[in-house]
Amino acid sequence: MTNLAVTNTFVSGAIITASGHNTNYSDIVNYINNRNTAVASWDGVSVASSTIVPLTVDNGTGTQNIFEVLDNGAGVLVVKDGGYVDMAGQPRVRAYRSSNQSISAGTGQVTFNAETYDLKGEFAAGVYTAGHTGLYLFTATVAVSIGATDVIQLTLIKNGVTAVAATFVPAVSGVTPSVCVADIQSMTAADTMEVSLTCTNNMTVTGTEFQTFFTVYKLA
């Protein structure tokens, strides 16, 4: 905490000098001006108004950032010149299957076993666990080898109970179809999401980073 303090407290009966005043005024001027030029920082700022916009930030004709939000010095949200917003701290995951995975007839979890990124460490053992309540975008794409007459279902499973979204694709002989699913879901902290495949026959999931993957992003 760095609060304003003036150097001199005057004592009754003592001579009050001009320099004593000047020092105190300098204390005040320097304190305020250092915060006006951002040489020093306020410990906290709260702005409230019921009539005017409480907080306005303008970078004028400059090209520097307009607003920087830092977590212990590291930028986590930046409003750049022109209004572009970077949210470097927003939770995000991209997991993928690095090697082929066999899934027996019926339903089985797609075990994404590698990560392209997982900013907050929220993905483990094929399961995403939301660290914070909010609105999330989920997508999953799975390349799978199945029989020519098989029909498969790709499902997002929330909290291990019910499919939240599902898709089906009939197989075509001689190709490895990709199935994908996407939805926006409201999640409470500690909610989980995972991906499963269902087929009446055995399946082989193609394990490559660009064909079989699961992405999560906190939208709001």
Partner: protein, 228 residues
């Protein structure tokens, strides 16, 4: 409004005591420090610079970094670690509750009839009306069961305006033909720039005979989120 004021105004010819000076200094110090610690609020703040970043908020502990409030309710929050939460997002989701049998292949509206979110854009007939202009992410998933093999399906997204009967097809997704008769999903993922009072309606068409649109919140749904 709570502006800075000092207690004592000096007058020519009057004796000025140490206590009077000290009181005025205390007025200034208290006013500034109450705002430095956020014990009191500024009435307004405008930060402007063409050379330095006008506003920087740095949290060195684990408290929230930024809270924006509307009459005391937090509407935008940057938590420790940079996690952004926007409490007042516009998000709507609706789904088709039960199967809908189509005897014609012609393009016809998917009558999503069960909105599920508090913030509603969809009516019970599956038409979304935009309440706030902006950029929207749209995700639609429609499960169908064709009556014959080699059927392909087309999703058409139409945009109109409240009060007008005309609309235009602004997005189209076509699925491939399928040998055999089985349930399949058609899907659309889009980013749309939409104005207030514009409407969205999703239609589906096939190239063959009749089919069934399969109902269920997991299978046939339409999600709409304002992202900017």
């Amino acid at each position: 409004m709570s502006t800075l004021a000092v207690t004592n105004t000096f007058r020519n010819g009057e004796r000025i005591t140490a206590a009077i000076f000290n009181t005025n200094y205390d007025d200034i110090v208290t006013y500034v420090n109450d705002r430095n610690t956020a014990a009191a609020t500024w009435d307004g703040m405008r930060s402007e610079s063409t050379t330095t970043v006008p506003l920087t908020a740095n949290q060195t502990g684990t408290a929230d970094i930024v809270n924006l409030k509307d009459n005391g309710t937090t509407v935008f929050q940057v938590k420790d670690g940079g996690i952004v939460t926007m409490a007042s997002y516009i998000y709507a989701r609706t789904y088709l509750a039960s199967n809908n049998v189509r005897t014609s292949f012609a393009s016809a509206k998917v009558a999503f009839d069960t909105p599920t979110q508090t913030t509603q854009l969809f009516n019970n007939a599956g038409v979304a009306t935009i309440a706030s202009a902006g950029l929207y992410m749209a995700i639609a998933n429609v499960a169908v069961f064709p009556s014959v093999s080699n059927t392909s399906f087309t999703l058409n997204l139409f945009k109109g305006v409240v009060g007008s009967s005309s609309s235009s097809n602004i997005s189209r997704t076509v699925t491939r033909k399928v040998s055999g008769v089985s349930i399949q999903t058609t899907r659309m993922v889009e980013m749309l720039s939409l104005a207030q009072n514009e409407t969205l309606t999703l239609e589906i068409a096939s190239n063959g005979a009749g089919y069934t649109v399969v109902g269920g919140t997991q299978l046939t749904y339409f999600s709409l989120l304002k992202v900017a």
